[in-house]
Symmetry: C2
Subunit: 140 residues, 2 copies
DNA sequence: ACTACAATGCAACAATGTTGCAAAATATTT
DNA sequence: AAATATTTTGCAACATTGTTGCATTGTAGT
């Protein structure tokens, strides 16, 4: 089943606007993750910086996208899978950051291994960020 | 064995200065991680913002501290263990971020579980960030 | 103590993110 | 389909965060 941008927006009780459709479309067409700068640049003669900020914020709140932890101070966003709903993320998957090409992959199908925490610690979410070389950049 | 700030600095071929000693001392006295803002504030009638930035940068380069990945756009630093040397980090340990008190713990003694990557992907570093409630904030 | 070198502070700048408000677009009602 | 209510956008101004060049100060080595 294939959802259009408008459908996804309506499903999340968001008014359908040009900027939201366009930004959501970028995520649907991109395999990896996007940073704020990517969106602002690629959107061509695009939207106001503020609009992009607010749109991303809205999408995160609605559970359409999620932020990816990074070691540097950049913020990246990626599409959530269908299991995500507002305020109820299912982000326990692995992110892979290629040091060569800079692409961020969401490896949704790989399960996050269970982590044994010290006594008294209770986990609500586990993020795993693996850095290295991706299959495209890896010499055979 | 206990190392003084001066000893640590000399061991890393850094000139021993007031700011470096003071900032390094903050890390030695702190269990968790520190953000730039923490350092600037706690250092009292302290140093220039630029000095803090440059000092942190230098410490990261020398392998004295390392950055911690976070989901929000904040950058946090924590002491490296002795195995770390310049450009050759041994950061494969788990970070725990308490949602209640905001403290970041470096759980050095917990091993990062092996992650099975797709074919062609090669990992050089694995960061695990667990969010939840720490032992201090957890109701018994 | 003198010299060479490195670190600091200041100023100015660049980048990133936030807020208030009028104008425009979208949704809802009649 | 038109009018009203609501939401979103763009602009401006601002706040925060991080960077760079350069003179001054401090540190290291002889």
């Amino acid at each position: 089943m294939f959802s259009s941008t408008s459908e996804i927006l309506k499903r999340n009780q968001l008014s359908v606007t040009e900027s939201r459709k366009k930004i959501l479309d970028m995520f649907l067409r991109t395999d990896g993750a996007l940073a704020h700068a990517d969106i602002e640049q690629r959107s061509g003669t695009g939207f106001d910086r503020v609009t992009v900020y607010r749109t991303l914020q809205t999408f995160v709140e609605k559970g359409i996208i999620h932020t990816i932890p990074t070691t540097d101070n950049s913020v990246r966003y990626a599409l959530c899978k269908d299991e995500c709903s507002a305020g109820h993320h299912h982000d326990d998957h692995i992110h892979f950051l290629c040091d060569a090409c800079g692409t961020t992959y969401c490896l949704d199908h790989i399960t996050v291994p269970a982590v044994q925490l010290p006594k008294g610690f209770r986990a609500t979410q586990t993020d795993v960020v693996v850095s290295g070389i991706c299959s495209k950049c890896n010499p055979v």
